[in-house]
Symmetry: D2
Subunit: 305 residues, 4 copies
């Protein structure tokens, strides 16, 4: 089956699932997403790309931004990351404080909220209070698309209602693992989460992770090869909160989800993938997006295992 | 042995312990306390009082204020307290978030930080942003001493460095158990903790708890009899964080400690007690104060059991 | 109101509650209890006694035996108890392993299952595999009733289905806090739990705790005065699992419950109380028994606070 | 660099590390291992093999047996596994009871002790009390070596001192997630853990996982292709207890360790690897074995990411 046919077959297969799951409602801008939206994009290393659905429609990438923030941190601070954020799966929901208290303010990994907040703190120390601009620019670079922007309305809503994230940041600050003022750190963090993109652009943005850190189309080196592999490893073990194991087990590709309904995934040496469907399962991952990726690995035979 | 002799014997007995324990250092105003200070005051229901040591020297009452805040809340909101704060010992340190997350933002009791923060929230809702003034006034009333004041320097320091308390408040707000803005609630809370008093005044301030809620000297009713008993019960089971059991086991009197180094205790129908010594044991309770109360129960034979 | 009238009023008041709560069903012998049974006995220090309901009907005392086991341990091993079992409220259900793992196999107190299992281990070391006989004899002594016996059918059922208790014992043994073979220790433990008594006898069995350790009727010294007070303190802070705080708050008397439906309580210097009603609330304490004691403190005015 | 040169370079590189780490000491047979032993074997899908060190010396495979037990369970019971054991990383040590109690007796994954004990229970139900014989035979089949045997001395020692595993099994039985008598289940489990093998044989035993479930040398189908991928996914996310994330991050190959000092790893489509060095790091994984695999991926460039 060629890739376009696979995408069409996936769309047909997931159609009966529309109506299941729940759109994130904790802020108005996310709550207004259309649960019947669906898009999927394949970006091959060889330059080809395949799309289906509303692939031009932008949405909030949310936690997918954690991948780009951690890429920047790996490049800038590699050694300093030791002791500030670990690389272990958490076995807990994305915003739990329990493990964080037992482990004295050192987050399990950079893909759960407290880990990404520590990374936001490090980037804020390095780039100042406009660190989010640098993160946006890095994402634009990865996507080779300089029109991408931050949805400031979403960023403001997050700041107003993000009590759990304030709790995480304050708990870590009480352990000395946040160096900047809480408000500055969360300003960086929430703005990065509020980048809007469509699946075309999201698939393109992680293509370098399928190619040892080098964008195969522009030949820009975004990341060294070793770091690229480590990002993939981390996406595999920690990319989907407390459903990461199941994602690896059923899908077998490195990936990262966001509560906006997007998921990115990598087939090393071959392609990157983005899928969008805003209704979430109870782990906070796109229900139909997860299913679509499972079908993709079945129909294409692509897996890292 | 008469009470004054008991106080003298206690002072002699605890003298070798000076130098043990550690003064609280998380804010400068507490760190400067003199670890060799010691004071103890007995205020009898019959009006007699006995004192030893620096009983005129004021210190920060800190968590002892939780007793007065909860007294006010019991009188004002009794029924509404259900579902907002429980009355069980926590089995955990005073500022732990773990249990609070498992129990969905409902604190175990009003004498650990999250519980007192909920009470501060309720009082803030009722009295507005100057709720701490009303708390101060209630404490003055209980003490029959209207010169007592809040140490605003301490209150400011707490506000600046109280990350753990901000974490607790934000976590509870994420569960909907804080109704006012975090800053307002902690303003109330930290100001109440920053009341300064000496042992003379502290012993007097809880005398009504030895007399069914009525100040036996002024005959003012501060609390109904049933509430007075409940405060005592709560002090016995929850008054000393995760050392409450040991305090009940060894001392056998309702009591409440603060990290400023003060402890109050009640001998029902007979007297109230205040002791001060700022060096703390690893549970955050006054090391010498705890020992002094243990000696007091041994020499006086007073216990509720 | 005289005591007999109080008992009658209590029975009238609790009658509408029959049908609420659930009889323990984990072993057949407990499951067959009649949820409409009710008995209450007051045994005064002055020798008077008052009873109501089926006060001659025996039932399994279950966890109430933990009081007698700990009395024996305090008398025999006082110093050796340090480091083997603490005296803090647990804040957790009676059979939780979580805290026990975090705290490296040292139970929070002797009135939750793991604590009583450690005590059973110490008594087994001292008295050998028939330790339960010595425990029974101590209970007979306390009750001044030598016809009391162990229900061996219940003991066998417990041994067969007590997986959670086996888990607790094995976890503690992995930390080195159980010295004898697991089966021997649980043999002691389950036999002690399977003592049968009625409320007349149960009230009598704890009378010495209202009188500084001395049975006021026989003048036998069962416990030294200091130990007697410590048992009372422990019953107050830890006597009702994770509802101990509420019991202290609402009832204000030292007490201990068992899943067989019995509760004992102490009014120091005045009397001991036993109540029986087998339907349990969700904490595992007798629902109507708890209510009856709350009414008793209200009508009699007796409380330690 | 050819594979033999890589092995030699690895041996040279790890030589300075001998003396670090600690041999497992909880049973005598493991404690007697020589911490200076080292062996590494590569078994290519094309039939070639490369070895270094004491590759003929057998050792206890311990938790590596969990891979084979789960392979059998996947083939036999696939659908029935749902609800009995999950496929998520645990974020906790291999023998923790905490998560197991919170999650009501359902283990996080089959590669931590409680998960493997559930699998042992299922195999015991299916094959009876000699289930371990069938497991041994499956392992012999995978290795194409029928002289491999169980070290019964080790199995007996485990049974005698395995209190933590008894605690896990009893806790799960209290939740109804163990169907057979505890002793039968642990007999199966400990015997399977006590298989002895050398690295030549261990590398061969997992070769089918590098080849979609088919032994490429004998052409025997041991597992269907999809199951083979799932085993690899599980080894990647859960193969090294609470250091699984770090193993994926640094090494990037599916693998499974045992406290006997062995580790197996898979390079899909290319080869399987076994390494042996009995001194363990604080996670319970072979310290030098882990380092050797990290060097192997660096020198060979093999990784799944």
């Amino acid at each position: 089956m060629d890739y376009q046919s696979i995408l069409e077959k996936i769309r047909a297969d997931v159609t009966p699932l529309f109506g299941q799951g729940k759109v994130a409602t904790y802020i108005p801008a996310l709550a207004s997403a259309d649960p019947y939206d669906f898009a999927m994009s394949l970006q091959l290393v060889n330059g080809e790309s395949y799309h289906i659905g509303s692939c031009e429609k932008t949405f909030s990438i949310q936690s997918i931004s954690k991948v780009f923030m951690y890429e920047m941190a790996l490049s800038l601070f590699e050694a300093s990351l030791i002791g500030r954020v670990n690389v272990e799966p958490s076995g807990n929901p994305f915003n739990s404080l329990i493990q964080l208290e037992y482990e004295k303010g050192i987050p399990r990994n950079p893909f759960i909220n407290p880990g990404a907040i520590v990374i936001a703190d490090m980037l804020t120390s390095h780039f100042g209070n406009n660190a989010y601009d640098t993160i946006l620019h890095y994402f634009q670079n990865c996507s080779n698309n300089f029109s991408i922007d931050i949805d400031t309305e979403i960023a403001s809503s997050e700041l107003e209602s993000g009590y759990r994230n304030y709790a995480l940041a304050n708990l870590m600050k009480s352990f000395g693992n946040i160096k900047n003022p809480i408000d500055d750190v969360l300003h960086t963090y929430f703005n990065a989460c509020s980048i809007r993109a469509n699946t075309v652009c999201l698939a393109r943005s992680v293509l370098h992770l399928a190619n040892q850190g080098i964008d195969p189309i522009t030949n820009n080196t975004l990341l060294c090869g070793e770091h690229s592999k480590r990002i993939n490893a981390l996406m595999l073990t920690c990319g989907h909160y407390d459903a990461s194991g199941e994602f690896a087990y059923k899908i077998g590709l490195p990936g990262k989800s966001g509560v906006g309904g997007g998921i990115v995934a990598i087939v090393p040496d071959i392609m990157s993938i983005a899928v969008y469907s805003p209704a979430l399962n109870h782990h906070g991952n796109s229900l139909i997006g997860t299913k679509a990726l499972e079908l993709f690995t079945r129909y294409s035979g692509h897996t890292i295992f």
